[in-house]
């Protein structure tokens, strides 16, 4: 009755209601965060930031005295002179000689020593011959090149040519070279990581010439994301408290709709997060457009944590689920960005595109939409699920599986809904499968590929069969389950093809063997028909396991037929 009544309220009134919920949320926080505790929080934050700043300034030295050397005194913090050494070092006729024990530590030690010996040589040359000891300077420029066919070469326009006809003034002056050498030699004396640093815009000596990378800017991205994590944590903690103390039940019994409660509770934290992002832009003197790249991810993180609050049954469970999910989504956000400028798949991360904006000042709309649309979709779907779970019938159940199933059943009211649900599940499947790539790096190659394919089968069948199972439970028991299976398979296939249409997706889908015409559709139909057949006679576990086995055999068979996987 109340819900029907509220549907007819003017839109302005609904917005007012949302603000009312937000103001209640703020009042609640004000009670909890008295002036004293707020000041203590500020103080703790300042101390933590200072410690972070101090540590970065001090330099990472946890590899101090890691290697043991005998024979010669090494003036480097990583080496310890010891009788039980891994490396015995000697020097004669201008060359260094190392005798090693053959352990992993001794091999690593000589690799580090080799760099020190080279650096020492460079110093000596500079002291003796000055800048003449460095006869080569390098500068790289990266140019976008379209793939063009040979007959169209004549039509190529190469606008950059003119500006390279002369060497820019000052670059050939000796003084400039002297500066580069000094800078480079000074760098050698300070502890530095082995990770490649950003290619400098100016000339460098060949030793400093490294592949193009935005790694050095990566720390900036952390400054944009991390402060928002605290507001997300506050939001989920507040929501959990409201759920545990049954305040949500009270709110839900008022004319307020669940969506209004959800948005109203989210809004203050979202505003604080946005202010953090804008402030970071000002503090770091970077583009204010950064918010366009960070906000979609933050929205997704908010909705994910809301979902976890409603799914979890205790504080412990929520804490650990949030830890795991935060780690996964942070890895999903940052890992592709580490490979920025090198592989196209790096552009699925908004961080890559934000760093490119910082570096070049240019915003590529198609890249932007490609990287952020997935997060907007994820936010919409997770928010929708969370709102559906804001129901006493669901959120206090003692089983996560039952919560998920009941929520899906509240959503999937007809077989046609299976189509939309399966299309919308694709971003989740994409993230899960992208994360599964890590398996390849953690075990022997032959085994890892089989485990990787098994992981893919598990993820895809979990999503597909959950949708069909919800439809089945909603009493489409006979012909309905077949329609649900067909529409879920078609939806999943359509979702995959949308991804495959995007260039980055295409590169990725090669890995997932999903770009082979209609074959994936046949697979999805086959596994879901198996599931539909078995679910009527057996348990979900048996029907699901059969679908996974069929999926695995199919994928592995295709892989063997193709003679390997292209990674």
């Amino acid at each position: 009755m109340m819900s029907k009544h509220s549907r007819h309220l003017p839109r302005v009134s609904r917005i007012f209601k949302i603000f009312r919920v937000s103001s209640i949320e703020l009042k609640k926080s004000r009670k909890k965060y008295s002036k004293t505790s707020f000041l203590i929080l500020i103080l703790i934050s300042l101390v933590s930031i200072s410690l972070l700043y101090f540590s970065v300034g001090f330099g990472m030295r946890s590899d101090s005295y890691l290697y043991e050397v005998s024979g010669m005194q090494i003036n480097d913090y990583r080496f310890l002179n010891s009788k039980n050494s891994d490396v015995h070092l000697t020097y004669s006729n201008g060359y260094y000689k190392a005798i090693i024990t053959g352990t992993d530590k001794s091999l690593a030690a000589v690799d580090e020593l080799r760099k020190l010996v080279k650096q020492n040589y460079e110093f000596q040359l500079y002291e003796r011959f000055g800048s003449e000891a460095f006869p080569v300077f390098v500068k790289a420029e990266f140019l976008e090149r379209e793939k063009v066919s040979v007959p169209s070469i004549k039509n190529l326009s190469i606008p950059e040519i003119k500006k390279y006809d002369v060497i820019p003034e000052g670059e050939s002056k000796v003084g400039k070279g002297e500066e580069i050498i000094k800078e480079s030699l000074n760098k050698l004396t300070s502890p530095q990581s082995n990770l490649p640093i950003k290619q400098k815009t100016g000339y460098t000596i060949p030793e400093d010439f490294n592949p193009q990378s935005l790694l050095s800017k990566m720390v900036l991205a952390f400054f944009f994301i991390i402060p928002s994590y605290f507001t997300i944590q506050l939001f989920s903690a507040s929501l959990l408290e409201d759920k545990t103390l049954r305040r949500l039940d009270v709110l839900l019994s008022t004319p307020l709709k669940p969506i209004e409660i959800y948005i109203g509770k989210l809004l203050p934290y979202l505003v604080i997060s946005s202010l953090f992002i804008i402030s970071t832009s000002f503090l770091l003197k970077e583009s204010l457009l950064a918010i366009l790249f960070v906000l979609p991810f933050i929205l997704f993180a908010f909705s994910l944590q809301a979902c976890i609050v409603f799914l979890s049954r205790s504080y412990k469970e929520m804490t650990f689920l949030i830890m795991v999910s935060s780690f996964i989504i942070t890895a999903y956000l940052f890992i592709p960005a580490i490979f920025s400028g090198t592989i196209p798949v790096s552009k699925i991360s908004p961080i890559t595109n934000m760093l490119i904006l910082f570096e070049t000042g240019e915003l590529d709309l198609s890249d932007y939409l490609l990287s952020t649309s997935q997060f907007y979709i994820l936010f919409a779907v997770l928010s929708f699920i969370s709102i559906r779970m804001m129901d006493a019938e669901v959120m206090y159940l003692d089983s996560i599986e039952r919560k998920v199933l009941l929520t899906l059943r509240k959503w999937i009211k007809s077989p046609l809904h299976c189509l939309f649900a399966s299309i919308l599940s694709i971003p989740f499947v994409f993230i899960a499968e992208f994360m599964l790539i890590s398996i390849i790096f953690t075990m022997p190659l032959q085994l890892s590929i089989a485990v990787f394919i098994l992981g893919i089968s598990l993820v895809e069948e979990l999503f597909k069969t959950s949708i069909v199972y919800a439809a089945y439970k909603n009493s489409y028991k006979n012909s309905g389950i077949l329609a649900a299976s067909v529409l879920t398979a078609v939806g999943f296939f359509a979702g995959e093809k949308i991804l495959a249409l995007i260039e980055i997706g295409r590169n990725y889908m090669d890995l997932l063997l999903a770009s082979y015409l209609l074959l994936p559709l046949a697979l999805h139909l086959l596994t879901l028909f198996c599931f539909a057949f078995l679910i009527r006679k057996r348990s979900y576990a048996i029907a699901f396991s059969t679908a996974v086995v069929v999926h695995f055999i199919y994928d592995y068979g295709i892989l063997l037929a193709l003679g390997g996987v292209r990674i």
Binding site: Y65, L66, Y95, V117, Q124, F134, Q212, Q233, F339, I437
Partner: protein
């Protein structure tokens, strides 16, 4: 004591029932596997010689300008003008252009401009090959200018056989001992501390603490909660160490490594106990704990005697600072004891 053990087992039992334990193990596996992805990804991209995947012959190089010696090093196609080289570059006939208008062999500097394709894996491969060749070119010019050769380290086995050690091997070693092992230690400690905050605040906020207090003493409840939080790292640490060993990682000084990891977990649980005593509710306690952790973690990496540096070195087999290990353990136990007395429920 019996009551405390029963409380601890009850909490751990509920974790097993809720499969929270599974998510803890998952978290540790994710931390390890993503750290591996990062390292091997970076190795593949930036140090492919280590993995023997550098495709030198597949790279087509063009050299523009009057630089015959430079050209001889790259075995590239010569272009009289940069314009001609650009046409071939954009047509995909060459992958890289090196431009040196005039070569200075015996005196002066050579400013080489390199044009590479943007957003192509090839440009990474090219950068690595170019660096190697440019260093050889630099050595050649130095020789022409009468400078002595040097800067080489020859490596031999104990039997006198000369060994070729791939570049970048230290990166993998340091990743395992300096990054992964401390990271696992920190993750385990943070999990245990977060658990302790939840164990205390959940009882208070759901009102079940009153029921517990009706049956047990305050001291027994706190001891039980601390014991549950301690048992988690006590079980998890040997587990991840054994997993690393099964994966071929050599762990030296096993019990000292275990001791340092336990000590750090005890310290962090004590920190969370202080926090939950002052802030009382879960929301503020977890927030403050996150803020404090952000400050503590980087400090762990700046000094040779911090738990992070110690665990790296001990696991790698270097025993520098070994005398500090019992001190950390004693401090951890002492702080746990203080926490037990201090926590109010």
């Amino acid at each position: 004591m019996k009551v405390s053990v029963a409380i601890a087992l009850k909490d751990l039992g509920s974790m097993l029932r809720e499969r929270t334990f599974v998510s803890v193990i998952l978290l540790l596996i994710f931390v390890a596997s993503f750290a591996s992805v990062l390292t091997f990804g970076l190795l593949i991209l930036y140090n492919p010689t280590y993995l023997n995947i550098l495709f030198e012959n597949e790279l087509k190089i063009g050299v523009a300008g009057d630089a015959p010696i430079l050209q001889s090093f790259f075995d590239g196609k010569h272009y009289a003008s940069l314009n001609d080289a650009f046409y071939d570059f954009y047509a995909g006939k060459i992958d890289v252009i090196l431009w040196l208008p005039k070569e200075n062999l015996t005196k002066g500097s050579n400013y080489v401009k390199i044009f590479l394709p943007r957003d192509e894996v090839k440009s990474i491969q090219a950068s690595i090959i170019l660096k190697k060749k440019l260093l050889e070119y630099q050595d050649y010019l130095r020789k022409l200018r009468g400078m002595p050769a040097g800067g080489k380290l020859f490596v031999y086995s104990a039997s006198g056989e000369e060994l070729i050690i791939p570049n970048g091997i230290s990166m993998v070693f340091k990743f395992i001992y300096v990054v992964l092992i401390p990271l696992m230690m920190i993750t385990t400690a943070v999990i245990a501390s977060g658990l302790f905050i939840d164990l205390i605040t959940e009882e208070k906020e759901t009102g079940t603490i009153d029921l517990l207090l009706a049956a047990c003493k305050k001291d027994e409840i706190v001891s039980g909660k601390i014991l549950a939080a301690i048992l988690l790292p006590v079980i998890l640490t040997p587990l991840w160490l054994l997993l690393l060993m099964l994966n071929g990682v050599e762990i030296h000084n096993f019990f000292l490594v275990l001791s340092i990891a336990y000590s750090f977990s005890f310290l962090m649980i004590s920190v969370s106990a202080f926090i939950v005593t002052f802030f009382k509710d879960r929301e503020r306690s977890q927030l403050v704990f996150s803020l404090v952790t952000i400050g503590i973690i980087p400090v762990l990496f700046i000094h040779p005697l911090t738990p992070s540096s110690l665990i790296s070195r001990l696991a790698a087999g270097t025993e520098f600072g070994i005398e500090v290990v019992p001190l950390y353990f004693a401090l951890g136990i002492l702080l746990l004891f203080v926490s037990k007395k201090m926590v109010r429920i």
